[in-house]
Symmetry: none
Subunit: 426 residues, 2 copies
């Protein structure tokens, strides 16, 4: 009962030990099986029932005969994306879905962008999300997006920078163009670390700030900040006469963290079927194979059928629920769900042994953005049991047998449903 520093320190030493043990326990109990698992993520799926919409969410308003049919033989629940009240970005949201504690494995935006553009990062690489901007003669940012130059122009400018700057200090520099005015810069060298503050004033009328380590004491981050400054020194003169893109901003400067590989952690060969770069990047971060090509959910499901024998775990990502939630477009979000539902029978031609359908977080239309509200989850397998729910909805999920739990546990539940865990204790 004693409060105060000493008591807390004591407790600390113990709980650590507890957490390690749970993952060790899972590892110890893991059995190899032939089971196929599919995690289908409708990005930002969860929503809010509000008076203006007759207290129906898009998922409730949507006509979803195929999801309804699944619900009959499924368990449902709701998942806290990260922690109570915390609204996650896509990074923490997906890491949790992949079974990693998002408070333990933080991934900077720069890293995600780089991975999404297909760069093969190594542990310790520091990556930045960059974009061209317009500077005036005094170095003041006058247009943060350089008039949103076309991708072709961006590619040319990146090629110029890449041809002239291959190293700063003892680090290799990798530059890759993205869409529009966006690109990515990676610093690869010994002893680097993020996170760094942004080289972006976040509004016009200000100069580009000099980046600093977020943690002032981090020596490796100090070195990384120095390299970024040197990069600016070398790069800005090369752009000086370009119009409108005579400068650039860098954000989300972070290093690639060491994340235990998904395959080793779960004894599953994982593959990613995503369309948008960020989600491919997140999947790659934990070592999932990227299956390229499919552009629609129907194509993604078709490809799943084709790849069925090659992998044990499929992460299938559907973006449009989130996109329309961000716009606050109830009808479009509802339609996106209906389109998803219409494609679902393709997946079910070769039904995975364990199928989980959920979101990485909620993106409620009234909020027009990500939120902290627990997302609904449906889990169906021969061993999921059934919750006597007619449909898969937020309100129904409140009543389900999975209850309310942290998203990071879903993957372990999927493994359990795949009968991948031996009994614990006699």
């Amino acid at each position: 009962m004693a409060a105060g520093r000493a008591g807390r320190a004591d407790r600390g030493a113990g709980v650590e030990c507890c957490i390690m043990k749970l993952d060790e326990l899972y590892a110890e109990l893991t059995l190899k099986t032939d089971a196929k698992l599919a995690l289908v993520v409708l990005d930002g799926l969860g929503d809010l029932a509000v008076r203006e919409r007759d207290y129906l969410t898009p998922l409730e308003a949507a006509v979803t005969p195929n999801l309804d049919a699944l619900a009959k033989d499924a368990a449902q629940g709701r998942m806290i994306p990260v922690a109570p009240g915390i609204t996650p970005g896509s990074g923490p949201g997906h890491l949790a879905l992949f079974g990693y504690d998002p408070l333990e494995y933080a991934v900077g935006r720069g890293v995600i962008e780089a991975l999404g553009l297909g760069l093969e990062l190594r542990a310790g690489d520091v990556a930045a999300r960059a974009n061209f901007c317009t500077l005036d003669a005094q170095g003041i940012v006058t247009d943060r997006r350089a008039g949103r130059i076309e991708t072709a122009v961006c590619e040319k400018l990146c090629a110029l920078l890449a041809s002239k700057i291959t190293r700063v200090g003892d680090a290799e520099v990798i530059i890759k163009a993205g869409k529009g005015h966006r690109f990515v810069v990676v610093f690869r060298g010994p002893g680097l670390e993020g996170p760094l503050t942004d080289a972006d004033p976040h509004r016009e009328g200000q100069p580009i700030p000099v980046v600093q380590p977020v943690n002032a004491k981090a020596a490796k981050a100090k070195k990384a900040a120095k390299l970024v400054a040197e990069f600016y020194k070398a790069a800005l003169p090369l752009l000086a006469k370009k119009r409108p893109a005579n400068g650039f901003l860098m954000r989300g400067l972070a290093h690639q963290p060491e994340i235990p590989s998904f395959a080793a952690r779960y004894q599953l060969r994982p593959a990613c079927l995503a369309v948008y770069p960020m989600y491919k990047g997140l999947a790659q971060l934990v070592g999932m194979a990227k299956i390229e090509g499919p552009q629609t959910i129907a194509e993604q499901f078709t490809r799943y059928l084709e790849e069925y024998e090659h992998y044990d775990f499929f992460f299938i990502h559907y973006k449009y629920t989130d996109m329309h939630g961000e716009d606050g477009n109830f009808e479009a979000k509802k339609r996106a769900i209906e389109e998803f539902d219409a494609a679902l029978p393709i997946l079910l031609r070769q039904r995975p042994d364990v199928l989980a359908i959920t979101g990485d977080h909620s993106t409620p239309c009234p909020i027009k953005g990500h939120s902290w509200h627990p997302q609904p989850v449906l889990l169906t397998s021969a061993w999921s049991g059934a919750d006597k729910l007619e449909r898969f909805t937020e309100t129904g999920a409140n009543l389900g047998s999975l209850g309310l739990f942290e998203a990071k546990h879903l993957l372990r539940l999927m493994q359990a449903n795949a009968r991948m865990f031996d009994k614990f204790g006699a």
Copy 2:
């Protein structure tokens, strides 16, 4: 933010560190807003549905049109006061509601009583809840409450003690009369700590036990125990000829812990609207302003309206649900809920942006005391969503979107509903 093995080891030192980090994360993400938040506590609200009462709880049996109306646009859930199966006192119950882990911040009864009597405690003060008793010639307790002497008598005796004893050892002694036979003693000096065992046999026919440190190794507590013994040595002779109050008992000897201030922790200006000393004391412990005066819930709500602009967070405490639960008086508890409901429209004249209505624990009539049963909670805001529940009840709350969660998270959910948290990660 650094992940990887090193990061985990750091944090490990330990989960302690993890826990710290979650609070740090909340702090880092906190945004200032104009939102007004109100936490309305019907003390001991939760109850049990039992056959003898047609399986209705007082909350279910009560006529509550105003709570019902709120339920339409609210999220509901149930909260574990401290941990599964743990029955909390008012201290841990309220600390959890204020968002502090009640296992981390333990507050002794003496401290609460002292604060409730308006004593301004300092960190390290050791406080005792004391009351006069009757001793026989051999020092045996013959009446633990000294015939429940009147407050005026108690005040005189306390004044006598205070005039003769201002110090023991190197510590200042502060004595303050309470109601009836009750008073409080505070020891203020260097190097003191609680908790100590009670100077109270808890039944008649026994002598007053000598207090001991609860943790035998705590040097500061040993010193505090010695001071208490010296205080008895000085005080008992002064009372020797008084009748019936010729002795006194001391309980809940504890020190004022260092608790981070509510205002700093949540970036909210908090105020307390409570009638009973203990709840004022608990609020003061975390640095809430005490608004004095109101005696009824209608007066409390009226005062809330008057103070609306001066604070961001209102803790409004209603005692009678607990009081009647303690008596096992179902009808009276039901009526107390109805009286509360009748006053609710006053609060709603200026509806707070975030309103949570709950208990600090359950006080079920069949148990006639506090219990471990999760208390129902209703949370309403523009972003709470709605759970399609017609009323606010224990059974309804079981179906709500908030699920079953630890009470210490409620405040973070209220902050989220106030849009006080930035997004976590990209």
